[in-house]
């Protein structure tokens, strides 16, 4: 009975993680097209959601392990998986509240590592794997994608310099829609699998499924739907930071950065050096801004870099604390679920204070949590003017009322 309860809880939490994964990464594909108007916000997320669902259903060959080489596979137990997932969910929601893109896979690894450290001590974690699989890729991904996007952007502008913008806008918007769709599809194939893998491993551990078999049909459909619904819900806070916060994106620049994102993601997935989709897309947008010679908000970029640095320890801390409870049988698991629900609720309520939806996602470049809008002006670039006072003050007045 206890086992069955824990099993059902883990599956539910895995699907919740999948949902947060979807809305956290929606912006990776769609921030560019939404910012330039190549796709309307609603259209963009519906398209991305369908492609994510399709991608998840196309790629069902799950990894045999979820330890990622960070520690021994034997250390992975059902409570550890539960604690790791809780850590990843809380981290994903916190960064979403702050409007910061961060890698969902790093969050999951962080959560699991934290849980393993609590269960089996710090010595059981292979520190070098953290360097080679987390730290190095987090530096390489934005660099490679950034350089690719910067060159592509320069070329896009210099080739079409004499082309009337009516013509070039339309063309680049089509290009952007195509590359964004590829990113969404690739995301479905890579990240949908993660949750399927977790659920399948848990089912195998509970002897409900023979060892070495692939995910069952309901697992594939549930995981695909969870990530698709997550993507559809938009994660508009992150979408705003990526589409507006880092740099103002013009259409040719958006097309170039989309090309760099999809090329880098596909190259990394097929040539043996895994890079996080989030880091790649952010790097492309940054690089495209540099390539155009636009005013990049380095303060936003450094805040993101800080969040990436904290992803592993942050999710690990929550995962570790969660592991203390997850190990205590049914009462512990129930307590953990109550705490998770409270955490989700608090974050949701906080996010309502400065709500960002599909309707206002491109209105401003700031994602506010508690602070009032700080008007910033860039006198040398009229495109980067501060948001209109009316829009900036509206949420403030609301919270005062």
């Amino acid at each position: 009975m206890t086992e069955l309860f824990v099993l059902i809880t883990v599956i539910a939490v895995a699907l919740i993680f999948d949902f947060t994964n979807g809305f956290h990464d929606s912006a990776n594909a769609m921030a560019g097209p939404v910012a330039t108007g190549a796709l309307k916000p609603r259209t963009a997320v519906i398209l991305a959601a369908l492609l994510n669902l399709l991608g998840a259903c196309l790629s069902t060959e799950v990894a045999k392990t979820i330890s990622g080489g960070f520690f021994d596979d034997e250390l992975i137990t059902v409570p550890i998986i539960l604690a790791g997932l809780v850590g990843a969910i809380v981290w994903n929601l916190t960064t979403w509240l702050l409007g910061l893109p961060s890698s969902s896979s790093h969050a999951l690894f962080g959560g699991l590592i934290g849980a393993v450290v609590v269960g089996a001590g710090i010595a059981s974690v292979n520190g070098w794997v953290i360097v080679s699989k987390v730290l190095l890729p987090a530096i390489v991904a934005p660099l490679v994608a950034g350089i690719a996007a910067a060159w592509a952007t320069r070329l896009a502008y210099s080739i079409t310099r004499k082309t009337p913008s009516v013509h070039s806008e339309t063309g680049f918007k089509y290009g952007q829609a195509f590359t964004a769709s590829m990113v969404a599809l690739a995301h479905g194939t890579s990240d949908g699998q993660k949750t399927m893998g977790v659920i399948t491993l848990v089912l195998i551990a509970a002897n409900l499924q023979p060892t070495g078999t692939g995910p069952q049909l309901w697992v594939i459909i549930a995981a695909g739907l969870a990530i698709g619904l997550g993507t559809y819900s938009g994660g508009w806070r992150i979408m705003r930071t990526m589409g507006k916060g880092i740099v103002e994106i013009e259409t040719p620049q958006g097309a170039a950065s989309g090309a760099a994102t999809s090329a880098t993601i596909l190259a990394s997935a097929h040539l043996g050096f895994g890079l996080s989709t989030t880091h790649v897309s952010t790097g492309s947008i940054l690089g495209s801004g540099v390539g155009r010679g636009a005013k990049v908000r380095w303060s936003v970029a450094s805040r993101m870099a800080f969040a990436w640095l904290l992803t592993l320890p942050g999710a690990g801390l929550v995962g570790g604390l969660a592991a203390l409870l997850a190990d205590q049988g049914v009462p512990g698991v129930v307590a953990l679920m109550v705490l998770l629900a409270i955490a989700c609720l608090v974050i949701y309520v906080l996010s309502r204070r400065h709500k960002i939806t599909h309707a206002n996602v491109t209105d401003s470049h700031e994602v506010l949590v508690l602070a009032a809008a700080t008007p910033t002006t860039y006198p040398d670039d009229p495109r980067l003017e501060a948001p209109k006072p009316k829009k900036a003050k509206k949420p403030k007045a609301k919270s005062a009322a």
């Binding site: 490679v144 350089i147 080739i159 195509f178 097309a255 090309a259 880098t264 997935a269 097929h270 040539l271």
Partner: protein, 76 residues
């Protein structure tokens, strides 16, 4: 401790080259289509420019198709 520097280098080179090639094709296609449109607005007809535009955009389209081929695991 093992870091696959070769794979890292290949990923970097391939990513940058492909992005640049795709963008060149797309931007050139856009420029050619626009040139052909301008010409036809002026009453002229330029089959040469138009067919070049289609070739270039077709190549960009092929790159997209290759990308989709790579994404879908059942194809390889």
């Amino acid at each position: 401790m093992h870091i696959d520097w070769a794979a890292l280098g290949i990923v970097a080179v391939v990513s940058i080259t492909t992005s640049v090639i795709f963008t060149i094709l797309l931007a050139s296609g856009i420029r050619l289509v626009s040139a052909a449109k301008i010409k036809s607005n002026e009453g002229g007809y330029s089959p040469m420019i138009l067919s070049m535009a289609y070739v270039v955009l077709g190549l960009a389209g092929l790159l997209v198709l290759f990308g989709i081929y790579l994404i879908i695991p059942r194809f390889h």
